[in-house]
């Protein structure tokens, strides 16, 4: 099961965070800093999975952007690793039309894909359908 998803830049600043298990607001900054330090310190040829406390971190780098997903021990690391890529492909597909940074839209896309720590949709068209409908309404 997925515990949280993080998007951070190379300086370790959080761009997006979504927790699927409650973590107090006051503890998040420290946790995220630890997690980011854990992943940023690794070299490219090293394994994309890292142990952190009693769970695993799976990270993937896209130029200056890191996406880190924390999962429990029983999760299939490689499937999550590819889930990250699928997510990025979806973002790529959507944002190639509207070039604009929108925290809310990225969240909406993520919510379609992961709910309660489980993968609920991976079909790109279906992931984007609700958001596209909203856009259409806003345009029209």
């Amino acid at each position: 099961m997925i515990k949280f998803v993080l998007m951070v830049n190379r300086q370790g600043q959080t761009r997006l965070s979504r927790y699927y298990q409650p973590v107090e607001l006051s503890r998040r900054a420290q946790l995220e800093a630890d997690v980011v330090r854990c992943c940023l310190s690794r070299r490219r040829e090293q394994c994309s999975f890292v142990e952190y406390k009693d769970f695993k971190l799976i990270y993937r780098q896209y130029a200056a952007l890191f996406i880190v997903v924390a999962v429990t021990e029983n999760e299939n690391e490689l499937s999550v690793y590819e889930l990250v890529h699928n997510f990025v492909e979806v973002l790529d597909k959507y944002f190639s039309r509207v070039i604009m940074f929108n925290l809310d839209r990225v969240h909406i896309i993520l919510d379609e894909m992961i709910q309660n720590g489980h993968v609920v949709e991976t079909n790109r068209n279906r992931v984007l359908a609700p958001l596209s409908a909203l856009d259409k309404l806003a345009d029209g």
């Binding site: 979504r18 299939n76 590819e82 790529d92 969240h107």
Partner: protein, 1125 residues
């Protein structure tokens, strides 16, 4: 292939992070969020960030409450608030506005409102209640987008108590024509299932409909619910195996629309989900596994494409194949597949391969042999996570032959590790291995020294305690015990002479205790040496007062006149005015006892060993007091967890900290006690969750009995080793012979060994040779035991499953169909219905009178003829004289139905009477059932109509084949009702309440209760010693106690156990030396295991079961059995 895509995606981050990119700059400069993010990115210090965000929050606060703010602006503000909170700055003033936005906003604004709510609030936040109305409204909206949004948020966060308000609406959506609405509705129900499973129990059939939905998305959504439900109760969903297999077959076969593909692989995450479900269904179940072999084979074959995602599927597939009932050719293919993983140059795949291997070596250690060279390489891998995973793998294949090498590797890792969590985990594992497989005393003590030095104060607190317990309890041979202790003393003296201030506190405490207890064994030591060393510990700057307490107590044990006393005197003076009260107390004790050797010998007798303390944990001696108090109107005792639940419900203060304090205070008071290990074991028993704790630590599960264990992780070790040796002679594989040589010659120089063992025909260069030597020492003793364990596992699985299936079948059959002749219990009821000699109420209407008539006939004949045979001799005496039972019922017990004749039964106990009806009851113990017979005797002069008998119980499940309406009981006759009882909630005694009511001549009802001991539900359980060992490990509830032995001498153990066998129907599985194991089950099929060990003239009993309270209750009855004996 993915690399290509990755390159095209490198443009993406610039979109997201607004790093300088010409296109986006123009557009985003208008966005205030963009401005904020840009500002943050440029900052260099945390302080500046805080200033900026506080300013931002102030401006948001300003605008958000202004009435002129439009919804569009509100949305903009909300996104900025989300961003601020994401950085860790609370924006709680916006929460209410988020709800408002969800309520009043247009499409996208509404969605952002819902999004903010799901990000800001947690499940128990009170503001969430304000959302319910909005959700309700949106669910009823004609706008599908609004319905969709409402369902999405419900699937993420919703107040548990309000589920009933929207449940009908959500259910309705399951029939919606739109795929997306149906899918979201299923996901919302999944959320309900997660937070309040009871609320959706009644719609399980609707989940089935979702599973069969024509849209693959809806079906996929329903799998989340099924995965959870099957995890909890695999037996309940076996019938769906075929459906899941068919779905997987279609997915693998590419029957889904193209847009479900990911990199040309059809719905990979769906495949993974299905494989997880299948492995749950096929586990320990050969017939379900049979159904899935074909599709598993196909999944393996299809996933040939070289892409990460196919490997992810393969990993799941391999796990599934090794989880379900084994099939040899599939196992072979899966093993080959693992080979591809571990040999892959891609590091992520290598990692996954190791993980898979770690999973499968538990079933088949031989696989580790196949990949030994790769494993050796991974052991020296520069990437720590690979190394760590490899150690995990080695931990699973450790045996007595390779333990030294593997432990050395683990310690090596520990020395380099900086992570606390890893240290705690590994320290626990090393300890477990050392205690289980230690080859000799020296190695054991030295390994534990390293563990204590490295693990230090990070280790689980029970670890040092169990080590001390192990030292003090000793093993079979007194000479060996002496040597072990002596070696420990030697080792600790030299450690303290070096640099004691580098040792962790826990280790110093252990050292102090051991020196205090055993340094007298080393006679050549000067009497002042050890006290001086302890004084050195006391004088250390970094010693905590806890450590000082241990050291002072140790010194008190040693202040034997002369020079030792002088040191003691000096120290005690320093501490008798100490500010710390505990230390001052110890200082005074030391002073007094060092001056009075006689008193000291009485208070702290040397070499007394842990004293056996008999503790009656069930507190049976208070029974009388309790019943008196209850009779006087006192409230019944509630266990702490129940009390707390109730308190929480009434929103009173939580008493949690007090609840926790008991075991802590016990262990702290034992610090100073000479017999601390015993006390500690009691406290851990009292705390009730010692098993959970030890499981977490992965360390203490079985350590209490010492190094030379008879039962180990893999079951019964002595037998296992014997088998291994036998097999080694028969199958002299090259690797094994190498292992044997290695064993014969510990420091054996390589050449001769590697000649026989080189797996590759090519000549081996020097480093290669070293690796092979390492390999031979790591993988020694593996190949032979693989067969054993594989067989052992499947046998056990089969056994367990059968037993369980039988139990549940008879239960459900009892509820639904009563005419299944294959099931013993209900068929017995059938017999009763047809040919019972006593009237049963549900006989066909016409035959009632006739049956009654016949009944009185057979009553006489049966009673006379069979009366003597029915009761096992000496087991019961009917107390007809002193009970109010009417004369006619004297022989009620002899009128048992035919199928129960000959079974042991209790006395017929009169329950009570109201003048016209007399009730009495007895219970009969069948092999797989417990029947309760209730006799209703009409002692009035008129017939009674419409007599209704109902039974209730809190602890028991009461089953009856018939409607319990005793329609008529004629004057002077006795009617009998028969019930099957099984235990829902174990308690030392369980109670059934019977209510009889009848309307004429005037409405009356009679309420009576029948109490029976839990022991009547105990039946022997046949298991092999090996299965016993496996079951033992998997059970989490336990209790421990010392009991009195029956008789003395050599036969004491078997005599004692036979009492248990006779009186409580426990099955003695095996007795080896001073240990014995017993097994039993609580009807229908709840196992409970018992481990007994004779120690110091008492019987140390340890009970374990998967059922809470069962060990305690059984222990209570064991004690009773002995007191009665």
């Amino acid at each position: 292939m993915s690399d290509v895509v990755e390159k095209t995606l490198t443009a993406l981050p610039s979109l997201l992070s607004l790093d300088s990119q010409p296109g986006s700059a123009k557009l985003s400069s208008a966005s205030k969020l963009g401005h904020l993010i840009r500002g943050i990115t440029d900052l260099s210090s945390k302080h500046e960030e805080e200033k900026l965000i506080q300013g931002e929050l102030a401006s948001i606060k300003d605008q958000i409450s202004s009435p002129s703010t439009s919804m569009r602006q509100m949305k903009e503000l909300m996104v900025r608030a989300i961003y601020c909170e994401m950085l860790g700055y609370e924006a709680s003033f916006t929460y209410i506005h988020a709800i408002k936005l969800a309520q009043q906003g247009g499409a996208l604004e509404k969605r952002v409102g819902y999004l903010a709510v799901s990000l800001f609030l947690n499940e128990s936040h009170e503001l969430l209640l304000l959302l319910v109305n909005t959700v309700l409204k949106d669910l009823q909206s004609t706008n599908l987008i609004e319905v969709c949004m409402a369902l999405t948020v419900v699937g993420q966060i919703f107040p548990k108590d309000m589920i009933p308000a929207i449940l009908p609406l959500v259910e309705e959506k399951l029939n919606h024509p739109k795929e997306i609405i149906r899918r979201k509705a299923v996901l919302a129900l999944y959320k309900f299932y997660l937070i309040a499973p009871n609320q959706v129990q009644h719609i399980h059939n609707k989940f089935r409909k979702a599973l069969c939905d024509k849209d693959p998305g809806v079906m996929t959504a329903s799998l989340h619910i099924y995965l959870n439900m099957i995890q909890e109760n695999p037996e309940g969903y076996k019938d769906l195996t075929v459906s899941f297999v068919t779905i997987l077959k279609q997915v693998v076969g590419g029957k889904l629309p193209m847009d479900f593909n990911y990199h040309n692989v059809p719905a990979p995450w769906l495949q993974i989900q299905l494989l997880r479900i299948l492995s749950l269904l096929g586990k320990n179940d050969s017939s379900s596994s049979e159904i899935m072999y074909e599709v598993l084979d196909e999944s393996l074959r299809r996933a040939e494409m070289n892409h990460n995602i196919t490997y992810a599927i393969l990993f799941e597939c391999v796990k599934c194949i090794y989880t379900v009932h084994p099939k040899s050719d599939l196992l072979e293919k899966a093993a080959k597949c693992i080979g591809n993983f571990v040999l892959s140059p891609k590091i992520n795949l290598k990692y996954l391969g190791l993980k898979a291997l770690t999973y499968v070596v538990q079933q088949d250690p031989k696989l580790a042999l196949q990949h030994q060279m790769t494993i050796i390489e991974c052991l020296d891998h520069p990437d720590l996570i690979i190394k760590r995973e490899t150690l995990e793998l080695l931990f699973r294949i450790t045996n007595s032959q390779n333990v030294t090498v593997i432990v050395e590797k683990m310690l090596e890792f520990l020395r380099a590790s900086k992570d606390d969590h890893t240290t705690t985990d590994l320290v626990g594992k090393v300890t477990e291995l050392a205690e289980k497989y230690a080859p000799d005393n020296e190695w054991f003590i030295e390994t534990m020294n390293t563990v204590f030095s490295l693990g230090g104060d990070m280790m689980q607190p029970d670890l040092p305690n169990s080590f001390l317990k192990l030292l003090s309890e000793g093993f079979d041979s007194a000479e060996e015990d002496r040597k072990l202790r002596l070696f420990a003393v030697d080792s600790y003296v030299s450690l303290l002479q070096q640099e004691p201030d580098k040792l962790p506190q826990r280790f110093l405490q252990v050292i102090s205790w051991v020196l205090g207890e055993y340094s007298h064994l080393k006679e050549e030591l000067e009497p002042t040496t050890v006290p001086m060393l302890l004084a050195k510990v006391l004088a250390m700057k970094n010693a905590t007062s806890e450590t000082k307490t241990w050291a002072l107590t140790a010194m008190t044990k040693l202040c034997d006149g002369g020079a030792g006393a002088a040191v003691a005197q000096q120290v005690s003076e320093a501490y008798s005015s100490c500010l710390d009260t505990v230390l001052r107390q110890r200082g005074h004790e030391l002073q007094l006892l060092s001056q009075d050797p006689e008193l000291r010998a009485r208070v702290l007798p040397r070499g007394a060993g842990p004293e056996a303390l008999e503790v009656d944990s069930s507190l049976s001696f208070l029974d009388e007091y309790v019943s008196e108090a209850l009779a006087a109107g006192a409230a019944p005792y509630k266990p702490p967890h129940q009390r707390q639940e109730e308190l929480a419900r009434t929103k009173a203060l939580s008493l949690e900290p007090y609840g926790l304090s008991l075991p802590i205070s016990m262990s702290s008071c034992s610090i100073a006690d000479r017999h601390s290990p015993t006390l500690l074991s009691i406290s851990s028993g009292l705390s009730g969750n010692s098993a959970d704790l030890s499981n977490k630590g992965g360390s203490t599960t079985l350590k209490l009995d010492g190094v030379k264990r008879v039962w180990g992780k893999e079951g019964y070790l002595v037998q296992r080793e014997a088998v291994e040796e036998g097999a080694q002679v028969e199958v002299p594989s090259p690797l094994l012979s190498l292992g044997q040589q290695e064993e014969e010659d510990q420091d054996g120089s390589g050449p001769s060994a590697s000649q026989t063992a080189t797996p590759t025909p090519t000549a081996t260069p020097e480093p290669e040779q070293e690796k092979q030597q390492l390999a031979s020492s790591l993988f020694v003793g593996l190949s032979s035991h693989s067969d054993v364990s594989l067989m052992g596992k499947s046998e056990q699985n089969l056994h367990r499953f059968r037993r369980k299936a039988k139990g549940s079948a008879s239960l459900s059959a009892g509820r639904e169909t009563t005419s299944d002749p294959a099931v013993s219990a209900p068929s017995a009821v059938d017999d009763l219905l047809c040919d019972s000699p006593v009237e049963t109420p549900s006989c066909t209407q016409g035959g009632l009178a006739v049956a009654n008539g016949r009944c009185s006939d057979s009553e006489l004949t049966n009673g006379d003829a069979a009366g003597g045979e029915l009761r096992p001799p000496g087991e019961d005496g009917l107390d007809g004289e002193d009970g109010p039972a009417p004369a006619g019922d004297l022989d009620l017990a002899s009128r048992l139905p035919d199928d129960l004749a000959g079974l042991p039964h209790s006395d017929v106990t009169p329950l009570g009477s109201d003048g016209s009806l007399d009730l009495s009851a007895c219970h009969v113990q069948g092999e797989d059932s417990l029947s309760l017979l209730v006799f209703v005797h009409n002692s009035s002069s008129s017939d009674l109509q419409q007599v209704l008998l109902e039974l209730h119980s809190d602890e028991l499940e009461v089953l009856c084949a018939c409607e319990n309406t005793l329609t008529e009981v004629q004057s002077g006759r006795t009617a009998m009702c028969r019930y099957l009882l099984s235990v829902k909630k174990p308690a030392a005694h369980v109670e059934v309440v019977a209510v009889v009511s009848y309307p004429t001549p005037d409405p009356r009802s009679l309420r009576l209760s029948y109490r029976l001991p839990l022991s009547s539900f105990i039946r022997p359980l046949s298991v092999s010693t090996e299965d016993y060992g496996k079951m033992w490990l998997s059970f989490s509830h336990d209790t421990k106690q010392n009991l009195r032995l029956v008789g003395g001498g050599r036969e004491a153990l078997s005599a004692t156990l036979s009492v248990l066998e006779r009186k409580l129907r426990l099955r003695v599985v095996e007795i080896i030396g001073t240990e014995g194991v017993l097994a039993c089950r609580l009807l229908p099929d709840l196992p409970c295991l018992m481990h007994c060990r004779v120690h110091a003239g008492t019987l140390a009993v340890w009970l374990r079961s998967p059922v809470p309270d069962l060990p305690d209750c059984l222990l209570y009855h064991c004690q009773r059995a002995f007191t009665e004996d």
